[in-house]
């Protein structure tokens, strides 16, 4: 399961600060919602259900954007690697 690193802080406005590296990032509104759902322990099917009820988006496009987004978060080193922490 995806888990954000414990030293990553996320504000209500989508500002992300990684205290471990000093890097900061900014999320758009959809990005923030998804990150909050991941933080709450939701998996992809649940996130898809929640967001497709709220937004006009077909499941296939959402899936593509979701996995691309998650891969970007991973590349930015915001998730805990397996076996860490």
């Amino acid at each position: 399961m995806l888990k954000l690193k414990s030293n990553v802080a996320i504000s209500e406005s989508g500002f992300v600060f990684d205290a471990g590296t000093g890097d900061s990032f900014s999320l758009n509104a959809t990005g923030l919602e998804i990150v909050q759902l991941i933080q709450a322990g939701k998996d992809f099917p649940e996130i898809l259900k929640i967001l497709s009820e709220k937004y006009e988006v077909d499941p296939e496009s959402f899936e593509r954007y979701y996995y691309d987004f998650v891969a970007t978060l991973k590349q930015m080193n915001l998730f805990v690697h397996h076996g860490e922490e």
Binding site: L27, N28, E56
Partner: protein, 452 residues
């Protein structure tokens, strides 16, 4: 309750305020039009990928270059370097503007003749001139630039055989302070070889020595190198006059001016580093005017500028085939034009842009062509917006060398169009087809059939 519109989720690293290597962070502006014509509509009409040339830009660039030299020197002549781009339509724009032809092979020579360039206005350069080529050049009274002694003796023999008086110049290579030294072509100045070649020509009494030529390199950023080269050629001209009372008609400074493309690994973009035509003109003409050549004997100044005259006028537009992530997490965008069409991507960090405005999010991206080989990299890493399959891109400044050095591989070379001064598109080279290739092939009878 109606649903909200969905916006693709994005996260961006915040480094605003931190200067990048080019100063403040820049957003990659889309480029949707060329000379007011929509790139998208051209792709729809002529297919993807597509080379697009702007006649307006070619003429404007040529006139700028001509003005820079002719406002400083009494007799200036450009000669279009065919190898840079020998599509007939392109050559003829330069010929309409007044440029002669500069060719380096029998094929290019015949192309220039077929375009209607008078033989005596064709400069024949290069180390590979066959006897047949030389004969053709002598018959047409063309300007033969001799590259080495073997060729010099060939021309002397032919002059006897044909009872003609060939018009010749020698190509001189010289030390301009630029490393590596381009000493492969022509006769060396510093070791006296160039002087020996001139002596040999004068003493043969069979050849008409009309000029001195040098081509000091390509993508030259140093105007000083041209000043040095012009000074050295002028000194040879002075010697010829002193020793033989012989006046040459021209000094040909070759090509080599840098275009505004950015060399791979360069710290600053080419738009900031390439000297202007005025800078090159000042260096060359002031060297000639301040030499010991008598003012009323100043020879014509010939320039064989290639890339700097045509790079800006050429574009390669196309379509994104796919995006993916590489194993190290970097983004890869795969486009429908590979290094076989964009040979210059081996030298340049090409300026590549989306055609339509897309997301503000940029990522470190590698741009690959569609060939099944790992050298097919158009840009190895650049900040590029997230494009998706079907989105269009355009590469700027591809007018030089690509449409002559392109290779056919696994698919056809694409259509080339020219936008005329009114923005009307003209196909100037058709996309190849299966017939193009099959018409060149012969299958032996015993290989015509098979049973599977």
């Amino acid at each position: 309750m109606s649903k909200l519109t969905f916006e693709r989720p994005i996260i961006q690293r915040i480094n605003a305020g931190l200067p990048s290597k080019y100063g403040m962070p820049r957003r990659l502006e889309p480029l949707s039009q060329i000379d007011g014509v929509s790139i998208e509509s051209l792709l729809q009409e002529f297919g993807s990928p597509l080379f697009i040339l702007s006649e307006q830009t070619i003429r404007k660039t040529y006139r700028e270059a001509y003005r820079a030299f002719s406002s400083r020197y009494p007799k200036v002549q450009f000669s279009w370097s065919y190898k840079t781009n020998y599509l007939n339509a392109v050559c003829n724009i330069f010929h309409q503007e007044g440029a002669w032809a500069e060719v380096v092979s029998g094929f290019e020579f015949q192309k220039a003749l077929a375009n209607g360039v008078p033989g005596e206005l064709i400069i024949f350069n290069g180390p590979d001139k066959s006897r047949e080529d030389l004969k053709m050049a002598i018959q047409h009274q063309s300007l033969i630039h001799i590259d080495h002694f073997d060729e010099l003796y060939d021309v002397i023999h032919l002059s006897k055989e044909m009872e003609e008086r060939p018009k010749v110049a020698i190509r001189v290579n010289l030390d301009t302070g630029i490393y590596p030294l381009w000493d492969r072509f022509g006769f060396n100045f510093e070791n006296g070889e160039a002087g020996d070649a001139l002596t040999r020509i004068m003493s043969s009494e069979r050849l008409d020595l009309v000029g001195l030529h040098t081509h000091i390199g390509t993508y030259m950023l140093s105007t000083d190198a041209y000043r040095i080269a012009a000074t050295k050629l002028a000194s040879l001209a002075v010697k010829l006059e002193r020793k033989y009372g012989h006046l040459i008609q021209y000094i040909d400074m070759g090509g080599g001016f840098a275009s505004k493309n950015t060399l791979k690994g360069a710290y600053y973009p080419g738009t900031d580093t390439a000297p202007s035509f005025d800078d090159f003109a000042e260096a060359i003409t002031s060297a000639l005017m301040s030499s010991d050549i008598k003012p009323d004997h100043l020879p014509m100044l010939i320039l064989e500028t290639g890339r700097a005259l045509i790079d800006d006028a050429g574009y390669l537009a196309g379509t994104v085939l796919a995006t993916k992530r590489l194993s190290d997490g970097r983004r890869a965008t795969i486009i429908d034009a590979g290094v076989n069409l964009l040979f210059t991507s081996f030298w340049y960090d090409h300026d590549i842009r989306p055609v339509a405005p897309v997301s503000d999010q940029s990522e470190d991206t590698t741009i690959f062509g569609p060939l099944c080989m790992n050298i097919d990299v158009i840009r190895s890493n650049m900040m590029f917006p997230l494009l998706k399959k079907g989105d269009r891109f355009v590469v700027r400044r591809v007018g030089a060398y690509n449409m002559t050095q392109w290779m056919q591989f696994i698919t056809f070379r694409p259509t080339v169009i020219l936008l005329d001064k009114e923005g009307k598109p003209h196909v100037i080279r058709k996309k190849e087809s299966l017939e193009t290739f099959n018409s060149q092939e012969l299958t032996p009878d015993h290989l015509k059939d098979f049973d599977l």
